[in-house]
Symmetry: C2
Subunit: 334 residues, 2 copies
Amino acid sequence: MSQRRRPTIHEVAKVAGVSISSVSRALNGNTSNADMVDRVNAAVREVGYVPSVVAQSLKTRHTGQVAFAMEDIGNAAYLEMVRRIQPTLRDEGYRLLLHSTGADVEDELGVLASLSQNYVDGLILCPLRVTDRHVEALRQTAVPVVVIGLLPDDVPVDNVRADSRVGARLAVEHLAEAGARRIAFIDGPLDTVPGQARYDGYRSGLAAAGLEPDDAIVRFTDFQFEAGRQTARELLTAHPDVDAVLGANDLIAMGVLHALRELGRDVPGDVRVVGMDDTPLAATSFPPLSSVSLGSADRGRIAAELLLRRLDGDDAPPERVTVPPSLTVRESSR
Amino acid sequence: MSQRRRPTIHEVAKVAGVSISSVSRALNGNTSNADMVDRVNAAVREVGYVPSVVAQSLKTRHTGQVAFAMEDIGNAAYLEMVRRIQPTLRDEGYRLLLHSTGADVEDELGVLASLSQNYVDGLILCPLRVTDRHVEALRQTAVPVVVIGLLPDDVPVDNVRADSRVGARLAVEHLAEAGARRIAFIDGPLDTVPGQARYDGYRSGLAAAGLEPDDAIVRFTDFQFEAGRQTARELLTAHPDVDAVLGANDLIAMGVLHALRELGRDVPGDVRVVGMDDTPLAATSFPPLSSVSLGSADRGRIAAELLLRRLDGDDAPPERVTVPPSLTVRESSR
DNA sequence: GAACCGCGAGGAAACGTTTCCGAGGTGTTG
DNA sequence: CAACACCTCGGAAACGTTTCCTCGCGGTTC
């Protein structure tokens, strides 16, 4: 493990008997003389030269790095995004930096602020919620940012959205079509962006199906398995006439399935269940869970593509892309 | 979006009326005069100065970045690792770079080679399999590396291992204790490191329990849900006397649960099932799946800690840590 | 055959920091 | 009171590149 200092462009130049500028040009393809290129390449191999990306970054003012910041990579939706973002960026030569902000808004703003350190060329951000401070920070970032999630219209930043409102509506309409008349809803917190949107979609789905809304069979809890299970147990005991439940995400819906099983109700015979996000959980649950995909993978890919365009120098007005939801029907609601 | 150039340490120096060396010292706490520090801080705020980490990196020769390379972040085990690695590193001021190599050995070697570019201070690597070229690359990396996974003893690199052999054995012993006598095993490919180790553990568990091994009730397939399901269906049909199944990971075990349900067999009444990895799937399945945890989260954390020690300048001999497995018993084998 | 043009290569500056070194000032000691 | 030591601060070099500018050379054109 000889920690001999790495060779620099100067050693290459010396060995090749040329100047460092020629080496740089040869390596970056800014020269025409083939003989020169050959000599430089030979010297590079001889001394084992590898360029320092740090020095390059300092000079060229870009780093070849992009950051992705979200709450928690453990969340299936974000995970799907990363899985698409990373290859998309890598194919264009960018490395991916991961920031899990851990539901900490300060940390999120910290990431935005840290962009001025210029350690990345761009950022893809999934904000928990968008405060005034976010908006201000987004207005004057040092590098291009793409936001995945809802964003006020006047923030001049590329924006990729899911449509969880339409998603929830889709689910409700499907349940109604399948014959359900008393469709309960277990939502996440109403003061989160998706919580609110899904609630709206639920209501609008009921309206579209000609069903009477009844907030007695709506609950707000956390986007978690245990929360869904306990809430569902309580809800279904208090309202035995419920014949379908929409969970605001797959974890909640899984909790609902468990609660139903504990109560001895058949799925989908007695009660139909639909989840949202269409995570791997859905396909492997029993019975397999119908779920509304909000296109996380697509959103990730599109965000990465938008960012790449900015990095390429495109200064067209900010774009706003909405990815349509789609419902995958499985046994739990058939 | 005024793309005015960011202020440098020179502007700060000018505004504060001091030299750039004093600014640098004041900012890095290498001075004693409080008055100087105040003036510099005031100037920093006035011009909105943020240091360039790239320039700092060039000068100080470290980047504050660490890379984590694995096959696919979608794999639950790697995901758990990232979730622990990231905060551990962040608390020490390091940023995390993610490399998904996508089951491509060349890409993996590429990552190793790219370390000479010095864009990171260290690497945590989960190799698919360890070839001679890996070993050679590992011997002469430019920065410290910690390997998670099996590694030949003579490679001088910090190493964190799971013990999936003991893990499988634990599961078999548990099943035998619970009364099972015909314990089937659905493994992943035998030519992978975990596939081989789990098979060995299965055999040794049978031996420990005094049960006769019978390769007729052992299958090798992919570490996937559908693979597990189909293989289980075939196996259980051909051998109705099987009273327990060990799945080499949770996905396979989930497939087994589905197959059993399709065949109308009760779990755990007729057949007990145990999985491995103890992913979130296990807790939310029905019935909840017993599973052997191989300590992914711990392995991630330990790897990060080992790396941090190296980055701190520790040059003790390479360490080899084995994280013991642990069995979580849930309804599927009770 | 001379002037010009273009091309290729070398020298040097610049990117934005940190740190070494030396100078000057102040305080202490003999 | 002089000499010395110490402490601060400023100047300048260095980290490893890219790129601008200049210079020299060879070829073309009048």
